[in-house]
């Protein structure tokens, strides 16, 4: 029985991963039914009703005042596995504030809320598949998965590519975080090299003098006609 999504061996976490307690009652236990590609083919949605506005990719100025925290720029390219850029695709991000608290009714972490930070942004990739966000570095925060559990600082990403099979939700982490070793969500990715692909790179060329630190983070979605690296099926 296989309970892993089969794209790039070791890349995606297994659905059932007991150290992450929430998987225990939520991960399907039956094998996935594999469809021939022609039966699973659906184009990406049209974003005509998203009404994305200029400035939606700046999380630091959403409410008129400036968000608290270390200002950062996160930028990169959206590619398929053949390294072809995907243009005009919707990328959405959400994150905790600088103190490690989300703008969410059920986040009860006793850290301060920032009235100038909701922590949500969105952007469409340009003609070369590039995107860019301006935000603040999120704080780490505690959760109740196990005793004294803390999530490493991260930014959630939701990505649409060209088709249904490109759909991806993931998290971007920051280099050198000492909490990686203790985080079952990060550690659920079987291959250590695949884990590293979720860690942004400090990028001096993105860093704006006297203004903000720059991090680069490319996103690669599975591509139908991609060159296979490993035997995955």
């Amino acid at each position: 029985m296989r309970d892993r999504i089969p794209s790039g061996a070791g890349t995606h976490p297994p659905l059932h991963y007991p150290p992450y307690q929430s998987t225990r009652l939520r991960a399907p236990s039956q094998p996935l039914v594999i469809l021939p590609e022609r039966l699973a083919d659906l184009a990406a949605p049209v974003y005509e009703w998203w009404s994305i506005r200029e400035g939606d990719n700046d999380l630091t100025m959403h409410r008129g005042g400036e968000a608290q925290g270390q200002r950062i720029i996160v930028a990169g390219r959206l590619l398929d596995e053949s390294a072809r850029p995907i243009s005009g695709a919707l990328i959405e991000v959400w994150q905790a504030n600088a103190a490690g608290r989300y703008h969410h009714a059920k986040d009860t972490h006793p850290a301060p809320l920032d009235p100038n930070f909701t922590g949500a942004g969105r952007v469409l990739t340009d003609g070369a598949g590039r995107y860019q966000f301006t935000t603040i570095r999120p704080g780490a925060y505690p959760w109740r998965n196990h005793d004294n559990a803390w999530r490493p600082a991260h930014i959630h990403f939701s990505v649409f590519g060209r088709s249904f099979e490109h759909r991806l939700v993931t998290q971007m982490y920051f280099p050198g975080d000492p909490m990686f070793a203790y985080d079952p969500i990060f550690q659920s990715i079987p291959d250590e090299r695949a884990r590293e692909r979720l860690v942004a790179t400090y990028d001096l060329s993105l860093t704006r003098p006297e203004w903000a630190l720059g991090y680069s983070f490319d996103i690669v979605v599975r591509g139908r006609d991609a060159t296979p690296f490993e035997s995955v099926r």
Binding site: I5, P13, T23, R26, L32, I34, A40, A83
Partner: protein, 171 residues
């Protein structure tokens, strides 16, 4: 910039705090307004212990008429695990029965899972090539039931795990 093949980016859970970004707009539950025939598609997510999943994100993807595009909607589930889309009954595909793809993200799902919803009154179910790939005993997990009202209200319960676990697909 090199064009070497790239390894895919791993998936991670959507977590419990996505609403401000991904489920802030109730209009995203309305698909193809004005396109008949209108239906309500009520989807409920249930975990392996039989409890409603009140923090799931549910997306529906369906073929949009002649343009070959996808119509798309997404909603967060409520405290009873339900979300309710207003859409149109999708056109009949070249082979098989009319259906809507359903994608589910949640805390505890390290990768999203997806399934298909078919309609119980469709006489093409027996010739659908995807249903044919599913063991017969599990096919009912993919079929929404109507409560007989007009406009049609279809209910689809997704069991993430357990004895009546829904069939999930991969491509």
């Amino acid at each position: 910039m090199n064009n070497q093949p790239r390894h895919p980016t791993p998936s991670q859970t959507v977590g419990p705090f996505f609403r401000v970004c991904l489920a802030a707009n109730a209009e995203h539950g309305q698909l193809l307004p004005g396109t008949p025939p209108r239906i309500t598609l009520a989807i409920r997510i249930i975990d392996g212990g039989g409890a409603p999943v009140d923090d799931a994100l549910v997306e529906i993807w369906q073929i949009e008429g002649e343009r070959g595009l996808s119509a798309f909607g997404r909603l967060g589930t409520n405290e009873d695990g339900w979300c309710e889309f207003e859409t149109t009954r999708p056109p009949i595909p070249a082979a098989g029965a009319s259906h809507i793809n359903v994608c589910i993200f949640a805390r505890g799902l390290l990768h999203h899972v997806w399934t298909r919803v078919y309609f119980a009154d469709d006489d093409r179910l027996s010739s659908d090539p995807v249903l044919a790939l599913v063991p017969e005993a599990r096919r009912p997990t993919l079929i929404a039931k109507s409560d007989g009202t007009t406009p049609a209200r279809w209910m689809f319960e997704v069991h993430l795990q357990g004895a009546c676990e829904t069939v999930f697909f991969d491509a």
